[in-house]
């Protein structure tokens, strides 16, 4: 991790808000800007990023460790290289051990950004990323729903309390005008990155990164990145 400049954990506490979609798209957007980018799927029991990226038939190379394969210009690591089509029922302690193992053996070499796709819940993976990756920054994803923000609010308060860097909050799947999330986020002194729309074209673009970037969701996320991430 010495050569890795920025580590961004895309997190939420809540599931299904678009963490994996945003983490994957963000990684591709940064790679297209010319940055050296890694993407690490840490949602071991329900990994999704390989589906979004259409990353099939990849296998990491072994060379004094594991060299993540490249896909769409990003170095990409996921447990699906090893679990394939199988469910991986892991207790928290196993998740913790697997995480430590993969961090120890994966050779990212130099990266401008390592994007981490976090699992839902505020549990082992989140606590371990905080514990082991001192320079981690959180990009927190929510939707406009009260149900999502119920957990996101708790996560934001916890991260502030611990003094952890939150680079911003994205409000994803926006459907109608409202200021509630923006106000809640800014009221906590946290940067509100902005809104990405609910976009029915996203589902058809799953597995097709070029198409994904041309969706409204993709182009607005690109604007948010240009504006907020320097």
């Amino acid at each position: 991790m010495k050569g890795v400049n920025n580590v961004v954990a895309v997190s939420s506490g809540k599931g299904g808000v678009g963490k994996s979609l945003i983490a994957s798209t963000l990684a591709v957007i940064l790679a297209r800007k010319g940055y050296k980018v890694g993407l690490f799927d840490l949602d071991f029991t329900s990994p999704s990023t390989h589906v979004i990226l259409g990353a099939e038939g990849l296998q990491p190379k072994e060379e004094k460790g594991i060299i993540p394969p490249e896909v769409h210009g990003i170095k990409y690591m996921s447990i699906v290289y090893y679990s394939g089509e199988h469910a991986v029922p892991l207790r928290g302690a196993d998740i913790s051990n697997a995480l430590i193992e993969l961090f120890a053996i994966t050779r990212w070499n130099t990266l401008d950004f390592l994007i981490i796709d976090m699992p839902p819940g505020i549990s082992d993976a989140t606590l371990d990323i905080i514990r082991f990756v001192k320079k981690v920054k959180f990009l927190v994803v929510t939707t406009p729903s009260q149900l999502a923000f119920e957990t996101v609010r708790k996560l934001l308060d916890l991260l502030s309390e611990l003094g952890i860097n939150v680079v911003g909050v994205v409000e994803n799947m926006k459907m109608k005008e409202s200021q509630f999330i923006k106000q809640q986020v800014e009221g906590r002194g946290i940067t509100f990155w902005g809104e990405t729309p609910f976009d029915i074209m996203v589902e058809e673009a799953i597995g097709n990164v070029k198409k994904l970037l041309t969706t409204e969701f993709g182009s607005i996320l690109e604007e948010l990145v240009a504006k907020n991430l320097k």
């Binding site: 060379e63 029922p89 697997a98």
Partner: protein, 132 residues
């Protein structure tokens, strides 16, 4: 061949302890290697010898293997993991991430994937002998 990365992790831990205990020199490092992960011992040994730091120049690496004992949380049955029963691809996956065993290995008595790895998961430091 990711035995190099594992060796690096061992050397880095040894260095931390050396510093914390203010050792001038490390004389012996006992390492246990669990059979679940099927680490290649000769590559590991070679990697360790290549990665020696100055304080480790006279060190003896004492590497022992430990059987991988699994215990089912569902029915309580205990058994020893045998790699011979695995196909090569699965064995390879477990080699890199021992927890992947939960995707492929089931309790031989009740079929549950909910087992504990009692011993013999990966690689761990047993002890260090040094001079102050």
């Amino acid at each position: 061949m990711h035995e190099w990365a594992l060796a690096e992790a061992v050397i880095s831990t040894v260095s931390q302890i050396t510093e914390k205990e203010q050792l001038k020199e490390v004389l012996e490092v006992k390492i246990k290697v669990g059979e679940l992960q099927q680490i290649e011992l000769d590559i590991l040994e070679f990697a360790l010898s290549q990665l020696k730091t100055p304080k480790l120049k006279n060190v003896k690496f004492n590497i022992q293997t430990a059987k991988a004992e699994l215990k089912c949380r569902y029915c309580g049955h205990k058994w020893i993991f045998r790699k011979e029963k695995m196909n090569e691809e699965i064995a390879e996956a477990i080699h890199f991430v021992p927890e992947i065993a939960h995707a492929y290995v089931k309790c031989p008595k009740c079929g549950s994937p909910d087992f504990e790895i009692l011993e013999g998961r990966g690689i761990w430091l047993e002890s260090i002998k040094g001079a102050k």
